[in-house]
Amino acid sequence: MPETAASGASIELENLSKRYPGSPGPAVDNVSMEINAGETVIFVGPSGCGKSTTLKMINRLIEPSGGRIRIDGEDVTDMDPVRLRRKVGYAIQASGLFPHMTVAQNIALVPRMAGWPKGRIRERVEEMLDLVGLDPGEFHGRYPRQLSGGQQQRVGVARALAADPPVLLMDEPFGAVDPITRDHLQDELIRLQHELRKTIVFVTHDFDEAIKLGDRIAVLREHSHIAQFDTPEAILTNPADDFVSGFVGAGAALKRLNLTRVRDMEINDYPTVAVDEPLQEIFSKLRSSSTNEILLLDRHGRPYKWLRRGDLMRAKGALARAGTLVSDTVPRDATVRDALEAVLTDSAGRVAVTGRRGEYTGVVDVETLMNSVHGLLEADRLDAMAHRHDLAELRVTQTHAEQEGPGGERKA
């Protein structure tokens, strides 16, 4: 798909504010933020903190009362909002599909408004349905009420992406579906984003969702003040203040483990032996190994049995009866948390790591796991400290500019 390979556009918010007439404080107060092209940024915060308002100011569903918005360097603050919104995809909670239009008509809306030729629209609709994992032939002519909640949400995303906008705004899109479906939709979004590399701004109040989806997370407190804007790793290991750590919730270190895969960690080599090797060979390997245990692999190289030193003797040399069967393995793509879980439940505290086809690639045990995790957390902490330092500096220059007055700021 050459056209969808186009990556996203950067977004800059500069001192963005929203004040409603008649309310004492601003709903959104002086938010500045730079979002890189192709990045997924999550706004997360408690209800009523202004995260949705901030999002809606980006496509000017809510007109900002102060500040500038730049998309791809272009100032869109005074642009015709209708023209702006056609370049910015928008997906909302409960999909926002129009009930009187079929799935295909819903998806075709934006391309039609953009004046695409009919044939191209038709192709595009099929392509989008395919992209979000719905069979075009089956779903094309359905009406939204004939779809499940999860399917509706997929169509909602397809509609938002139909005209291939560089920026996608998502306002709690998965808030109204059940946890299992939400999990799948999140996985789908990750896959999609991997293919498309759009700039996504995503609002949620679910911190776990934020960790799962975000390249960077902006934790917002009331009036949309940015409490911390950083990678999930940094926020988990080094929350900026009590508000953020309160929001991260308990078990931050455990949540952190979800972000790293086993393949990125240190995996031990372990003495192994294949089933079809002669018994003598196995004996000598057992004797010479540093551990008092070796891993027996089956014909396809998959972990089969753990063999201890005395096992073969006790089984009187019969390999079929000796040792304990491998009950649990961890694929390389599993998260470190999964690995930890497996190691903790294993009676001997070690688990075999397998590759794509289940073949043996190594072993992790409690000790190596602990070392890796500590290393991870330490590295995160250093990163976060560096980021915070940058942020503090930025703030200092900002307050400086404010004190200089608006004139001085313009010149700067």
């Binding site: 909302i92 409960a94 129009f98 009930p99 809306l109 939204p144 009420r145 909640g149 579906v177």
Partner: protein, 282 residues
């Protein structure tokens, strides 16, 4: 009246658990069947017309054996019956046309943000139009516009604006605001939102109002005779003043038949014009 439900209401319970396209097929339960039912059933098409035909046939048979005296003959001959019937149809059709082009645009206007404040005022006027006894309204109009079809038409129109106006406003207001925001959010112009989303979703309620107005108009069109506007009312009043039952009965039966026929046609229109994909079947 049925309020059109938003997208969120009444989802099928089943969920797709699959990840990729292939898995969806494998794991999702069979698609919700609900093929769109034909909207107009044969019962709907036949029962009422059959009843009407029976009614008219019975009236005709009764007239066959009835002995009509000179006065009755005089009131019914020379195509006066068909003329009165035609006038009634004309009055109903023209007044409904004016009701539509006044009430629907007004309703749309009154739900726009700039004019929303005027809604109570407009509704008061519309209410007054309907609360005034139709016959009194007609009398006033005759004083102002003189006798004839025009004053009758104006009277009937004023009388029937309210149901269409209030249903248009109710229909547009019942639309889910998040849906309208979604429409704006994907880049529809205000006019586009109105034309492609708001109005189609409000169609069921607006049509219900139109149906009410049509039936009202058939009824009030019989009063046109008092303003010299003609119509089936002529037969009824003649029947009463000359104390000739057959004339009175014919006038009433035709009025009833016309009202039922118009209502039936309007109900068909409601079914056919209702956007597909909205709410429960027929």
């Amino acid at each position: 009246m049925r309020i059109p439900d938003g997208v969120t209401a009444s989802e099928p319970a089943e969920e797709d658990l699959g990840g990729g396209p292939g898995e969806v097929e494998a794991e999702a339960p069979p698609p919700p069947p609900s093929p769109l039912k034909p909207r107009v059933t044969w019962q709907k098409l036949t029962i009422l017309p059959a009843a009407l035909v029976a009614l008219l046939l019975a009236t005709w048979l009764w007239f066959e054996q009835a002995r009509l005296d000179a006065i009755s003959e005089n009131a019914l001959s020379n195509g006066q019956v068909s003329k009165a019937l035609w006038q009634s149809v004309e009055l109903t059709a023209i007044s409904t046309f004016f009701v539509l082009i006044i009430a629907i645009p007004l309703g749309i206007l009154l739900t726009r943000r700039a004019f929303r404040k005027a809604t109570p005022l407009a509704m008061t006027f519309a209410n007054m139009g309907q609360a005034t006894p139709a016959i009194g309204l007609l009398a006033l109009l005759v004083i102002w516009l003189g006798t004839g079809m025009t004053s009758a038409l104006v009277g009937i129109t004023i009388y029937a604006v309210l149901p269409v106006l209030s249903n248009t406003i109710a229909g547009l207001k019942a639309n889910d605001p998040t849906l309208l925001e979604a429409a704006r959010g994907i880049g529809m112009s205000p006019w586009g939102v109105l034309r492609r989303v708001e109005l189609p979703l409000a169609v069921p309620l607006i049509l219900a109002g139109v149906r009410t107005a049509l039936v009202l108009n058939v009824g009030t069109s019989t009063l046109a005779t008092f303003g010299g506007g003609g119509g089936l009312g002529v037969l009824i009043t003649t029947g009463i003043t000359t104390q000739r039952m057959p004339v009175l009965v014919l006038g009433s039966v035709l009025t009833v038949a016309l009202a039922l026929l118009v209502d039936w046609l309007a109900s068909l229109a409601e079914l056919l014009l209702r956007p597909r994909g909205l709410g429960v079947g027929t």
